[in-house]
């Protein structure tokens, strides 16, 4: 009678298990997605800085207009001359001063008050797209300035 002898097994198998493979695939996909979103995020940070610069240019321009006497606020369009426009790619700025029009709807000055409307626009190009920030306010004769 022969009995089966215990077999000495040496586990000398090389290779990658299925679980490890799946884990690596998940990790690689995850890293690719994460790294792919980083450039977009960095662009957003740049865009927010550009918005801040545009906003500061506009605020200064409005204060400059408020310091001018009312009679010297000539209706029309003028270009903004601010060195910070250089921080905006293709940056441009303009100020539009318009007399109050009682016939305009909705009327800013229905009773013909001495008020002028100031519109300040700063525009620039971001990734080939045109971006602009626009702020409007009023300046009256004998008002805040």
């Amino acid at each position: 009678m022969q009995f089966s002898q215990p077999v000495l097994l040496k586990s000398d198998q090389r290779g990658v298990s299925l679980a490890e493979l799946l884990l690596v695939i998940v990790a690689v996909v995850f890293l690719v997605l994460l790294l792919g979103s980083i450039p977009g995020s960095v662009n957003l940070i740049g865009r927010s800085r550009q918005q801040s610069v545009a906003r500061e240019i506009i605020a200064r321009e409005i204060e400059n207009k408020r310091s001018v006497t009312y009679i010297n606020l000539t209706p029309g369009e003028t270009q903004i001359n601010d060195s910070r426009l250089g921080f905006l790619p293709g940056g441009e700025g303009k100020t539009i001063i318009s007399d109050c029009d009682p016939l305009e709807s909705p009327a800013i000055c229905p009773n013909g008050e001495s008020i002028k409307q100031i519109t300040v626009i700063v525009s620039w190009k971001t990734a080939g797209k045109d971006t602009a920030v626009k702020v409007q306010t009023l300046i009256s004769e004998g008002g805040l300035n």
Partner: protein
């Protein structure tokens, strides 16, 4: 018998790398979202502020209808102006700086007569000033110049008060203590001031104006004039100030501007001018 001698740390290393990359990536993404959110809100705030200013400009022209800027995405609503002070109410001035003068009417500023008709006729009046709990070096002395009209024409009487003992020795001002006071004023209840003095107005002519200047301080501090008596208009300050409120809105952001105005204020150099019936020769 199985001899399993499996060695390796690749999974641990992989997990470590993933964790670090996740941390870095999430930080960058979060920073960018926060930045863009903040800059958008600040931009809206700027638009709302400009709209609120536009509302104030319209209100100063007598028009309190709302303002709309559809192109800029902003608008402003304007509250009807509030006339101050009320009967027997203390009139508080916004913080007065070193070179500024707070001007209070004691006669009726709307009077067409010359001199203006009398309004406040009591023999004394309280003046409050100073921000509580300031350092000694920032506590202000006060100069009050009361202009009155009598038989000789327009005259002035000046009052000087100083809470600082050391300065009193040199400037000769009336010494007072400043234990802090809380009163109701035109700006609302529970308004706090550090000092108070009572001006004796007896024996002088028809009261016209009181002009108040803070001395020895570089910190802007509030000033209030409290009429005494509680008897009606002759115990009250005339209505002389208007407060305009404009609320600008852009997106989810609101900015509110309040403007305190006084009509018919004497120019600041009034207190430094020399008036003479004849030519002045040097």
């Amino acid at each position: 018998m199985e001899n399993m001698k499996e060695k390796g740390q690749i999974i641990l290393i992989l997990l470590l790398v993933m964790t670090v990359a996740l941390g870095v990536g999430l930080t960058i993404v979060q920073r960018s979202l926060t930045d863009i959110s903040t800059s958008t809100k600040v931009e809206q705030s700027s638009r709302a502020f400009s709209a609120a200013e536009a509302g104030i400009e319209k209100a100063l022209q007598g028009d309190i209808s709302s303002v709309n800027f559809p192109d800029a995405g902003s608008s402003a609503s304007i509250n009807p102006p509030v006339f101050l002070p009320e009967l027997n109410q203390a009139l508080e001035y916004p913080p007065v700086g070193k070179e500024e003068i707070a001007h209070f009417w004691l006669a009726d500023p709307g009077s067409a007569a010359n001199p203006p008709a009398a309004y406040y006729t009591q023999n004394s009046i309280d003046i409050y000033w100073g921000t509580p709990n300031l350092s000694v070096s920032d506590q202000a002395a006060i100069e009050v110049n009361v202009v009155h009209y009598g038989m000789s024409g327009y005259l002035t009487k000046k009052y000087f008060f100083d809470p600082d003992d050391l300065r009193n020795d040199q400037n000769g001002f009336t010494q007072i203590t400043c234990p802090n006071y809380t009163i109701s004023t035109s700006f609302g209840p529970n308004r706090s001031f550090s000092c108070k003095a009572t001006l004796d107005l007896s024996g002088i002519g028809t009261l016209m104006v009181a002009r108040v200047r803070l001395l020895y301080t570089g910190v802007s501090q509030s000033v209030a004039l409290q009429p005494l008596g509680g008897c009606g208009s002759s115990c009250s300050l005339p209505r002389q100030a208007k407060v305009y409120t404009s609320i600008g809105t852009s997106g989810e952001t609101q900015r509110t501007i309040q403007l305190f105005t006084l009509d018919k204020v004497v120019p600041f150099y009034f207190d430094y001018a020399i008036f003479s019936a004849g030519p002045i020769e040097k």
